[in-house]
Assembly symmetry: C2
Homo-oligomer: 294 residues x 2
């Protein structure tokens, strides 16, 4: 049994607990949370720090992307493996090299940038290029709530609550619809300007809409359509499409648990979804998986 | 540069030459063919046996599935790596273990059951299960010509030429439409009975249609739709779809060339598409690939 801890108790953390409970080869060692009360999860230990749990092999980091680099590095250096769902695309390579160094130093394993996108989408894009090396791939998100974008808006001063919905415009272009509940006295125009200049939003057409309550708008469903049209050898017009329509935190957490299984089978170091052999993501014997899936 | 030979000069062999020529890191060492004339490909050496070529690292086997086990094993034992597109699903595991043993003995590498299905479809099915471990996956082929099925029919006595078209019926069920040109004096009913009892056809509704000429019917295009509806953690109704519409021999050959690149980066042994890390399939530096695809 793989002894795993869940770090963070938001949407993804809660879903990670469900995914661990559903996996036949995992055991939940505990939940690391700074806000959750000690007895809140019954028999499941709630702790403030990973060190308070014993025999943890891997920590599923269900925390905002911006907190991942420091927290993951610290855990990896202790000799405990990690999985994260870091999702700032422009920074994934730097994080990969940093965590690769930490994991090799700590003799631990790290699955980084795992989940939806980066995550399953990354592996799909790689397979599409392997089948047709020349051509264009478009990743079209939505309609659906983007967790990374929503968390980024909630960190902006004056924002009480927020939800960012991604609308696909086509050919990989998106519009962002940001629904915000403001703190009393916050300046809507100032908040809007800050959102639009945030790295998560600066490249997309972004609309900010003030609402008094978010509860009636929230649906954690999300979708993607990845399309490639390319060339295999000299054959033109080869077409590939991947579509997914999911409860986003549930899929992200599930993929992190699958990647936890896979990364523990690798040599010390860091791995993205591009590096993990698909068979290692799955529970079962090699024979059973080859007979069923190949 | 990877020095690769192409073994076989049918539809897939011709496409493999195109894929090798289009790859920046491959060099075509020659073509192994028992029927092609020595000078038929200009400057490209045409030989009868792999031994006649020097410095070949990997042989792309573009031969009927039933010839793969013996030929691949022989080459692997010589210390030369192979890629095959063996496509008899019920026998892939036994072939994998046999070629794994040969490759380890010969200190070579083997990518087996690579191409369309088994192939890219195998990796997709594994990723879908990683994202939603419980549920059902349906692989729906066509409409399109199945190469493996067509080759199997052409081997039946009395058949001059044949094409097997796969029609998706839904939920992974298929109908086979087999168009045959018979040898003079062949018995249509006898041929039909043999086709219907062949392992390639015995499980599917199969219709055999006699035609006088196949030329006007042949289109190498093929399609697939893989659909999974499953559960991530405790979230139901997670939906995943992969669709592909391709020139089939061109995609198969391209995937074999990509797998050749990948397998040469692994330890000696056999690898299916489930075993190969997606990043290894692609040309480029790790940094460039992570920045572009993760």
């Amino acid at each position: 049994m793989i002894k795993a801890a869940v770090f963070g108790y938001g949407n993804i953390g809660k879903a990670a607990i469900e995914a661990i409970n559903a996996a036949p080869d995992f055991e939940l060692a505990g939940v690391v949370s700074s806000s959750l009360e000690k007895g809140a999860l019954g028999k499941i230990p709630v702790v403030r720090d990973v060190d308070e749990l014993s025999d943890v092999q891997i920590v599923i980091l269900c925390i905002p992307s911006r907190n991942v680099p420091d927290i993951a590095e610290k855990i990896l250096l202790k000799g405990i493996s990690t999985v994260d769902c870091f999702d700032i695309h422009s920074e994934t390579y730097n994080l990969f090299t940093r965590l690769d160094a930490a994991a090799k130093k700590g003799n631990s394993r790290c699955a980084t940038s795992i989940g939806f996108d980066p995550g399953i989408d990354s592996a799909i894009r790689a397979l599409f290029e392997a089948a047709a090396p020349k051509g264009l791939t478009y990743t079209n998100f939505g309609p659906g709530m983007s967790m990374g974008h929503s968390v980024a808006v909630r960190k902006i001063p004056g924002v009480k609550d927020a939800m960012s919905v991604t609308i696909p415009v086509g050919a990989g272009v998106h519009r962002r619809m940001v629904y915000v509940v403001l703190e009393d006295g916050a300046d809507f125009n100032k908040v809007t300007a800050q959102i639009k200049s945030d790295p998560y939003f600066v490249n997309d057409e972004t609309h900010v809409i003030q609402v008094s309550n978010l509860d009636m708008l929230i649906d954690r469903g999300h979708s993607v359509s990845i399309q490639r049209k390319g060339v295999s050898g000299s054959a033109q017009n080869q077409r590939f499409t991947f579509e997914m329509s999911i409860d986003n935190p549930a899929m992200t957490a599930q993929m992190m648990v699958s990647a936890a299984r896979a990364v523990l089978r690798q040599a010390p170091g860091a791995y993205t979804m591009l590096h993990l052999p698909p068979i290692d993501l799955l529970y079962g014997t090699e024979e059973e998986l080859i007979r069923r899936l190949v």
